[in-house]
């Protein structure tokens, strides 16, 4: 039951509803249905889900000065309809290029992945 409540709350928040209003609405509904005891567990599920989804959205570049890679990443995100600014993470291990992750979709245009693909093509 708490999963159903949590799913409804998460959907409302994702649709852009005010978080405070949604949570007040949740408390009202739980009280009306005598489900007050579920409040804490519902909140826990909502927080964990939002944290997971939030932490997934990001842009990874090899260096903070690689403006070209950042521009390409923004262009790739725009193609997907994503215009909001995502947190940028610097990971030298990708060597160059970019990796974006948002809304459960990943684009890996890093030099590391490209070189790996080349290695696999040559060696198989």
């Amino acid at each position: 039951m708490q999963n159903a409540y949590a799913a409804a709350v998460i959907q409302l928040i994702k649709d852009g509803q005010d978080v405070d209003q949604v949570l007040r609405g949740l408390a009202t509904i739980l009280t009306a249905r005598s489900h007050e005891k579920l409040f804490q567990s519902v909140l826990r599920i909502v927080l964990r889900t939002l944290e997971t989804h939030q932490s997934n959205d990001r842009v990874v570049v090899a260096s903070s000065e690689d403006a070209i890679a950042l521009e390409q990443a923004i262009a790739a995100l725009a193609k997907q309809g994503v215009t909001k600014k995502l947190p940028t993470i610097v990971d030298p291990n990708i060597i160059g290029g970019f990796v974006t992750e948002t809304n459960g979709v990943r684009i890996d245009a890093s030099y590391k992945q490209t070189l790996l693909t080349l290695y696999q093509t040559i060696t198989t």
């Binding site: 291990n93 890996d108 693909t117």
Partner: protein
């Protein structure tokens, strides 16, 4: 480094494009007992392969040092989570690791070069003989061929075991269950059948696939050595999963074997697949289902345990001429506990297969090996799968043994029996001796026909029961020496013509005259 190789690499670098295809990605929420719970992947399909990005955060060099990509198999699609079984080392999966869809259902790479090799259920070679050149990917799970795409089973698979080929004949495209307690010779029958295929002409010889499910590695290694020594590895593939491997791999092993078989069947060739054994397969599936929190049913097996084996065994078929006429013959093995064939899994598989070979511990301990209980073993395909020659000689042996079994109870009163009954008992005991056979010593069908014909026509008359085996061996040697044309005539023509019958009768008389030392009657 050769110029050709340098040119190839240059071309590949030139053609290389940075891939900006969006991929659906999920995140591991939790992992334990070989099952990973994934957040995301809302469009994942059932039985789809996913790949764990275990190399995120590692340098290129560290990534190259990691040998294989780690795959998973989607098995539960729940409301807010996708459960994936990890097909490899679970220790490589951590919370927060990304998981990407591959957009393809689980498949195994197959090619001609897989014959003679030992592979795991994902097609990776494990025999240390290097990589395998693959031709295509065959789906591991697949719907079986329909009714109209099949034809009748009418060609024999010769096991090389007299008791089976004469009374429980197996045809190409049939499913024949081998069932019995532990250490009764089930695997031996399967291995002897594989070895016996070397006597088939190359163009008609079936490709053999032995699927070891949860076997000890030492046992698989010794089986492989036996097959190599007999020259059978030339046409055999082994799909091996050991007892220490994760249950998802044990679950996949027989399906991988079937997929490899389908590759050859669709080329019009015949295939023999041995599943050793499906009891361990059922246990692995139960373990996996309980870990996936699927509701347990009878004996804690999941509700679809019957469907697990029925969809596997239905993939054995004899295809119609329009589809190439290839076939897959399945020899599933089931281990019973204390001879209980009415247990859950044995009854399931008995109802699916086209017959069963029962191996009895009491018979084994009495020295009757192979320990076939002929009374309750059956082949539902029957004589349609026998050569004309074998059909002609096998009828009498079954009748003799049936009568012998009825009279066995009276044997303790031997002194009180009439002459006719005593003769029947003695004849039955000689047939029982005739059907005994050494391990890993399959006999080509033409020699079986000759031996049984001779037994039906007085070869063992006036001889001691204890001499039966010696007489049989000597007679076969005699036939190889003096009547090679008869053996080759039966081998090529596959029937007993009048001419062959005449020569056989002459051979029996000639043998008895030349080997009088074997013929001292013990009937008083």
């Amino acid at each position: 480094m050769s110029t050709a190789l340098i040119e190839k690499i240059k071309q590949q670098i030139k053609d290389l494009e940075v891939d900006t295809t969006p991929q659906e990605v999920g995140v591991v929420r939790s992992v334990g007992d070989g099952i990973a719970e994934i957040d995301g992947l809302s469009s994942a399909q059932m039985m789809e392969m996913v790949v764990f990005a275990t190399t995120d955060g590692l340098s290129l060099q560290e990534t190259l040092e990691q040998t294989d990509a780690l795959y998973g198999l989607v098995l539960n699609l729940e409301e807010d989570v996708v459960k994936v079984v990890v097909l490899g080392e679970t220790t490589r999966v951590k919370e927060g690791v990304r998981v990407m869809r591959t957009n393809r259902l689980l498949s195994i790479p197959v090619g001609e070069a897989i014959v003679g090799r030992v592979v795991d259920p994902l097609g990776t070679p494990i025999d240390g003989k290097g990589g395998i050149a693959m031709d295509k990917h065959m789906p591991i799970e697949r719907v079986a061929y329909g009714v109209m795409e099949r034809s009748g089973v009418n060609e024999p698979v010769h096991t090389g075991i007299k008791a089976i080929d004469s009374m429980i004949p197996i045809g190409r495209g049939q499913r024949e269950l081998i069932i019995g307690d532990r250490q009764t010779g089930k695997t031996t029958i399967a291995i002897d059948t594989i070895i016996n295929q070397k006597y088939e002409p190359k163009e008609k010889r079936p490709i053999c696939i032995y699927v070891a499910i949860g076997q000890k590695r030492s046992k698989t290694a010794s089986l492989m050595a036996k097959l190599e020594a007999a020259g059978a590895m030339e046409y055999t593939t082994i799909v091996a999963t050991s007892a220490s491997e994760a249950s998802p791999l044990l679950f996949l092993a027989p399906f991988s074997g079937a997929a490899i078989g389908e590759y050859f069947m669709e080329q019009g060739r015949d295939v023999l697949v041995v599943f050793d054994d499906l009891s361990k397969h059922a246990n692995a599936y139960r373990q996996m289902s309980l870990l996936l929190r699927r509701p347990p049913g009878r004996e804690a097996y999941p509700g679809d345990i019957f469907y697990l084996h029925s969809r596997l065994l239905e993939r054995s078929a004899k295809l119609s001429k329009e589809l190439g006429g290839g076939s897959i013959t399945a020899l599933p093995i089931i281990e019973t506990q204390e001879g209980d064939v009415s247990a859950y899994i044995p009854t399931n598989v008995i109802s699916i297969t086209d017959g069963q070979i029962f191996l009895d511990t009491d018979l084994f301990n009495k020295g009757i090996r192979p320990a076939l209980d002929v009374g309750i073993s059956v082949s539902r395909v029957g004589s349609s799968a026998q050569t004309k020659a074998m059909k002609k000689v096998a009828g009498k042996i079954r009748l003799e043994l049936a009568q012998f079994r009825e009279l066995e109870a009276f044997m303790q009163f031997a002194s009180d029996l009439d002459e006719d009954t005593k003769k029947r008992i003695e004849s039955g005991r000689k047939y029982v001796e005739l059907l005994k056979q050494e391990q890993n010593n399959p006999i080509p069908f033409q020699k079986q026909v000759v031996a049984i014909y001779a037994a039906n026509n007085g070869l063992f008359d006036d001889a001691l029961v204890a001499n039966t085996h010696k007489i049989e061996l000597s007679f076969l040697e005699y036939m190889e020496r003096e009547y090679t044309n008869v053996l080759s005539g039966i081998e090529t023509g596959r029937e007993l013509t009048d001419e062959i019958v005449e020569q056989l009768n002459k051979a029996i008389v000639g043998f008895k005259e030349a080997h009088a030392q074997f013929y001292v009657s013990d009937v008083v």
